[in-house]
């Protein structure tokens, strides 16, 4: 069955000419046509483009000069600018924006022969943990609670990217992660997702949310497939001044290293009062799997963990209020006319932004405003330094950390919608690694009592994605996660 193959398997089969790229991509184009009207995982679909790219991949395969991802159909989060293909960031304000350039990361994937099925749905400007803030409608998680037809959220912000891969509409996808936007939806949708170190992937051409936190990464159904995708996406780009010049290692090779002799830390502060018992049980199971595979499990402390989220909700909105100042109805995007220029700005932004984006811009504007900057923003930057120090200190003693990815499995559409802070708490386990800029990966590891998938998070040292992949692969092998979502092609 073409739709259930991994990227690694499909790439090998394409080279053996067991099937053509046209057949592989065609099956996924059909899956998107069949399921997207229900799941809404894509804002824009590009079937003709995908089939043309598939034909080009078949030519390259026949000629023997195909790239490593030739003919592999992917979904691209609609936050990556794609030349000639509308890029909305999930916002009304960019509803008519057609980029005249390609983001660095998506250009890397195209260089390697990847095929793009379309632009994946997301929370507006990547601000959200449920995909409910998209101006293009929510995404349905293909998983269901046992015995229930309630529509579950796929997580966010990269909810469409995760749902598309889980439902077998795409073999892999790109995401971005600012506070958990790859790892949490990966956990909610029962797939793997990697947020690499800040600076590993270029931010150039990705619609900016919080520039000191935003980082591109990959979703796929296996750890190995994420390794292959990240190996293509990562690399030096002079157009992003924070992009690393370090060479990109062979991540797929790193997945085979095992964990014998590695020290894996268990941060005490991630064990919260009233913790979901299924999540707690799976965490202990994950530690046992790693111990059985030869790792040494070490209790560690990250004392500023509880301050990660409130720090994030100063730093990220502050940066967002600055980054989103560009949406003023003058150079691109949807304009609302006004009686004068200020009125034009105010009407354009009131009509173009949704409620969550407005809230965050307002919070960011306030914490940066005269008289409040020191009390909020400067203090948050200092706490952020302490959070980084927590990680630096523990990584002197351990090679990786193991935590749950999210406090619960997926929740239903309409739940947690009344209180912004209740929604923010979804990211309690993912935000600290974002604040520190270190890599993190979510691996599907089991189901909760309701039949919904849960993820385990592996956190590594800066630029040590290889160890993250090695630990994640051991978890994937031990978990042998084979449950399937209720809705799939």
């Amino acid at each position: 069955m073409l739709l259930d193959l991994t990227i690694v398997e499909a790439a090998a089969a394409l080279r053996r000419r067991e099937f053509s790229a046209r057949e592989l991509v065609g099956a996924h184009v059909d899956a998107v046509a069949a399921l997207n009207p229900r799941l809404n995982a894509f804002i824009t679909v590009t079937p003709e483009l995908a089939l043309a790219q598939a034909d080009a991949a078949d030519k390259a395969l026949a000629a023997g000069d195909a790239g490593p991802l030739a003919g592999i159909p992917l979904a691209i989060k609609d936050l990556f600018c794609t030349e000639g293909v509308r890029t909305t960031a999930g916002s009304r304000i960019l509803g008519n924006f057609v980029p005249p350039y390609e983001s660095f990361v998506s250009a890397q994937l195209l260089r390697d022969g990847a095929v793009f099925l379309g632009k994946a749905n997301l929370d507006e400007f990547a601000m959200g943990s449920s995909n409910m803030t998209s101006a293009y409608g929510p995404v349905e998680n293909p998983w269901k609670r046992e015995g229930s037809n309630a529509v579950m959220v796929p997580g966010g912000s990269s909810g469409g990217s995760a749902a598309a891969v889980a439902a077998r509409m795409a073999m892999g996808s790109t995401g971005t992660d600012t506070g958990g936007s790859i790892r949490q939806p990966a956990a909610f949708c029962g797939i793997a997702g990697i947020k690499p170190t800040y600076g590993r992937c270029s931010r150039w051409g990705i619609v900016a949310f919080a520039s000191s936190l935003d980082q591109a990464g990959a979703f796929a159904r296996t750890v190995g497939d994420c390794a292959v995708l990240l190996g293509s996406m990562a690399g030096f780009d002079p157009k992003d001044s924070t992009c690393s010049e370090r060479p990109v290692p062979d991540y797929l090779a790193a997945t085979k290293r095992g964990v014998r002799g590695l020290r894996v830390g268990v941060p005490a502060e991630y064990r919260m009062d009233g913790m979901n018992p299924d999540v707690e049980r799976l965490w202990q199971q994950g530690l046992a799997w790693l111990r059985d595979a030869g790792a040494e499990i070490v209790d560690v402390s990250l004392p500023h963990t509880k301050y990660g989220l409130p720090t994030y909700y100063i730093v990220a909105p502050a940066e967002a209020s600055s980054n989103l100042a560009r949406y003023d109805g003058v150079r691109f995007g949807v304009r609302q006319d006004g009686v004068d220029l200020i009125d034009l700005y105010e009407r354009t932004r009131a009509a173009g932004f949704g409620d969550e984006v407005k809230r965050r811009i307002m919070i960011g504007t306030y914490v940066l405003s005269a008289g409040y900057y020191d009390a909020y923003y400067l203090r948050a930057q200092k706490v952020r330094a302490l959070i980084l120090k927590d990680f630096t200190d523990v990584f002197a003693h351990v090679d990786a950390l193991l935590t749950p990815t999210a406090p619960t499995g997926a929740f239903g559409q309409g739940e947690k919608m009344d209180d912004p802070v209740a929604m923010y708490l979804n990211d309690v386990f993912t935000v600290p690694a974002s604040m520190a800029g270190v890599p993190g990966m979510s691996v599907p590891a089991g189901l909760d009592g309701q039949g919904l998938p849960l993820g385990l998070q592996v956190i590594g040292r800066p630029f040590d994605e290889e160890t993250v992949f090695a630990v994640s692969q051991v978890l994937e092998d031990a978990a042998a996660f084979s449950a399937m979502p209720a809705v799939r092609a």
Partner: protein, 95 residues
């Protein structure tokens, strides 16, 4: 500290977001809920801690101050809501 309606309006003005009177009370409640939750950072001792300003633990890379890109006004203007020749157009600004 708690935001009053006048402060909510002032923030909206600074952020250049038009706000209807009916929205002020709702946003006041939401913003105060978020800011109240953020107040817990006051319990952290940050004495002598240098602020962390960026995500990358590397020195900012510099490049030569030269023109490396440009000279394609049609591409730059392709998404403009309004234009006049090779310029973005806005309503007349009169001081």
């Amino acid at each position: 500290m708690s935001l009053d309606p006048a402060t909510v309006r002032r923030i909206a003005k600074l952020a250049r977001i038009r706000m209807e009177d009916a929205d002020v009370a709702r946003l006041q409640g939401e913003l105060n809920g978020i800011l109240g939750w953020i107040e817990q950072l006051n319990e952290v001792d940050v004495e002598g801690v240098a602020p962390l300003t960026g995500g990358a633990q590397i020195a900012m890379r510099m490049r030569e101050d030269v023109v490396t890109d440009g000279a394609y006004p049609e591409r730059v203007l392709a998404n403009a809501p309004d234009r006049a020749g090779e310029f973005f157009a806005v309503p007349k600004v009169v001081e």
